[in-house]
């Protein structure tokens, strides 16, 4: 096998382990997705809250900034000390990394809603809750989406590193490739789908984000 060109080896691997790769692909995606979902579930409401309490906002955002500066391998190891090996450790790490972009974008999105529109909505008799879900959220949605987009792309990369703590996923194949002699096809078989996943996710969320842009809504 090893005497064959790299390209042929790769195709061979794909044809013989297609299902396995697909499985790892799904696992990889879900780990990233859960982490980001968790971050969104907590980050969006928190962002909405701090947009109305901006002294608190500065503090929370600087905390999130600090988290962001920790290198991902270090973060993984620290979380591993608490949660042990496995996918959960990676999900928590991704959650921590995703908090900042989601929180910050939610905060910015809410802050950027034209105060005139808020004034007029309030003056027409909207309750705080109506103001939020009828006006602020729809108008901030595209900015929030762009936060999720950033978080998701970063998360897919970080999940690959997560293979070090035994989470599986496409990163697992990359690591095995680096450990094996002549592991190039294995590395590519893990790296190419990872890159593809990041690009596709970016495109899909990007178009969602466009869809939510207030000025584009009429092109539904």
């Amino acid at each position: 096998m090893a005497d064959q060109p790299l390209w042929n080896q790769l195709i061979f691997y794909f044809t013989h382990n297609g299902l396995y790769i697909l499985q790892q692909f799904g696992r990889h995606f879900l780990i990233s997705f859960y982490g980001v979902l968790l971050a969104a579930v907590i980050g969006i409401p928190l962002g909405i809250y701090i947009a109305n309490h901006y002294r608190l906002g500065d503090f929370i955002i600087s905390v999130a900034n600090v988290i962001q500066t920790i290198p991902s391998l270090a973060m993984l190891s620290i979380v591993m000390l608490v949660l042990g090996l496995g996918a959960n450790t990676v999900i928590v790490t991704i959650f921590l990394y995703s908090i900042l972009p989601i929180l910050k974008n939610t905060y910015t999105g809410m802050k950027n809603v034209d105060p005139n529109i808020i004034d007029s909505a309030k003056g027409m008799g909207m309750t705080g809750l109506q103001l939020l879900y009828m006006v602020k959220l729809p108008l901030a949605m595209s900015v929030i989406m762009s936060g999720i987009r950033t978080a998701m792309v970063v998360a897919i990369g970080n999940t690959a590193i997560g293979a070090f703590v035994g989470a599986g996923g496409l990163g697992d194949m990359i690591i095995r490739g680096t450990n094996a002699t002549d592991g190039a096809p294995l590395i590519l078989a893990g790296a190419l789908p990872t890159a593809l996943m990041a690009v596709i996710t970016d495109l899909v969320i990007g178009s969602l984000q466009k869809y939510f842009e207030p000025n584009n809504l009429h092109k539904k």
């Binding site: 034209d114 007029s120 003056g123 027409m124 008799g125 109506q130 006006v135 809504l217 009429h218």
Partner: protein
């Protein structure tokens, strides 16, 4: 209008901000149903603050505001706001909602059935004078003026009687603004809506308002009808705000002809001979004479042309005089007469009292003086004896 019920009243209202800065102080204003009230003042005068207290966008720190007889503190702010129309400068349309959704926003908050909302949307887009196809568009697809039209009619969607407008036309070009001013004047006059309008544009206020409240640094300086404010500005601040030009124009509007007439008209009695008439003309440097009877009652006029054509030695004035074409009563307003004099090319118009006694004339020369004053300000006139000036023109504007 004076018998109309009051809809909003401010009693000793004050707003102090944290840190002690005063928003407004000692506001006492009563707004009656059907009025068009303009709050006017420079920025920082508290006019917007005062308006926003009506729908509890700002709560006063002191005093009482009533809406339809009840203290607004006893209303739930959200429900209060749904019964008061609200229009702001940059139209405040929701960019993510269609025009229809924008118009029926308050009805939707009030949970009207869908058919009723549809009907209302169609009714209001007609009122805004825009095609019904616009209902499905988004605000960004409309021009600024069209957007503000929607902004205005939206304030009526739930049949609000009172509409608050915060400098709604500040960002519009003059032509569009005129159109919109007509629209809201129509709402007030035909539909009987009460409008509270905040502006810093005096022309706009004078054009629209039936009631003007002038504010400066948080205080009401003057609270009156536009006419009264023009006639009796409370102080120099109001005068400055109005501007010299408007004050002079306003004087012209309320001056009566007797204020500017010459009290010494060139006249002759019926019995005099034509020769005498010509002598009088030459003495007075005029080419016409007013003809009166011996009691000074106006009969008509005689001019050089007629004398020239029909001169005979023995004829008297009574033989050839013309009957009066145009005359004014001494208490008629100058604004009504000056245009007639100017447009119809009369050189002079006789002024009579109610029993038709001749008491003076208004000549084109007297009008020139008024216009001269309006353009160049007040100066010494060349012939102060000839033209009796009203005190208001001679000495400033403290009296009309």
């Amino acid at each position: 209008m004076s018998t109309a019920k009051e809809i909003v009243s401010f009693r000793n209202v004050a707003k102090k901000y944290r840190g002690g800065s005063v928003g407004v102080e000692n506001i006492n204003v009563t707004i009656k149903e059907g009025e068009f009230v303009c709050f006017i003042g420079t920025s920082g005068s508290g006019k917007t603050t005062t308006m926003r207290m009506i729908n509890r966008m700002i709560d006063p720190s002191k005093g009482k505001i009533t809406f339809k007889g009840h203290n607004i503190r006893h209303y739930d702010p959200v429900r209060l706001r749904r019964t008061i129309g609200y229009v702001i400068q940059n139209n405040g349309l929701m960019p993510h909602m269609t025009i229809q959704e924008n118009i029926t926003l308050v009805p939707k908050l009030l949970k009207w059935p869908q058919e009723k909302m549809d009907k209302k949307a169609h009714e209001l887009i007609k009122l805004a004078d825009l095609p019904e196809s616009y209902l499905d568009r988004y605000p960004a697809e409309l021009s600024g003026g069209q957007q503000q039209r929607i902004g205005v009619v939206r304030a009526l969607a739930a049949d609000q009687d009172l509409i608050l407008m915060d400098e709604p036309f500040g960002a519009l070009d003059p032509i569009t603004r005129d159109d919109l001013q007509e629209l809201i004047k129509h709402l007030q006059e035909e539909l009987g809506k009460t409008i509270v309008f905040v502006t810093h544009d005096m022309d706009e206020a004078l054009k629209l308002a039936t009631h003007i409240v002038i504010m400066d640094s948080g205080h009401v300086i003057q609270d009156d009808t536009p006419d009264n404010i023009l006639q009796h500005p409370a102080n120099d601040f109001v005068k400055d705000l109005l501007g010299e030009e408007r004050l002079l124009q306003a004087q012209q509007n309320t001056l009566s002809v007797s204020d500017i007439m010459s009290t010494n008209p060139a006249k002759i009695t019926l019995g005099k001979s034509l020769a005498e008439a010509i002598r009088t003309m030459s003495l007075r440097h005029v080419d016409y004479l007013l003809v009166t009877d011996d009691d000074n009652k106006l009969k008509g006029y005689i001019d050089l042309e007629t004398i020239n054509e029909r001169y005979s030695k023995d004829a008297s004035v009574s033989d050839i005089y013309n009957c009066t074409r145009m005359k004014f009563r001494k208490d008629s307003y100058l604004r009504d007469t000056s245009e007639k004099i100017l447009k119809q090319g009369y050189k002079y118009v006789p002024i009579v009292d109610k029993d038709n006694y001749l008491i003076g004339t208004v000549t084109r020369a007297s009008l020139v003086n008024i216009i001269y004053d309006a353009i160049w300000g007040k100066e010494e006139l060349d012939n102060p004896d000839e033209i009796k000036l009203p005190a208001s023109i001679a000495k400033g504007s403290d009296k009309s």
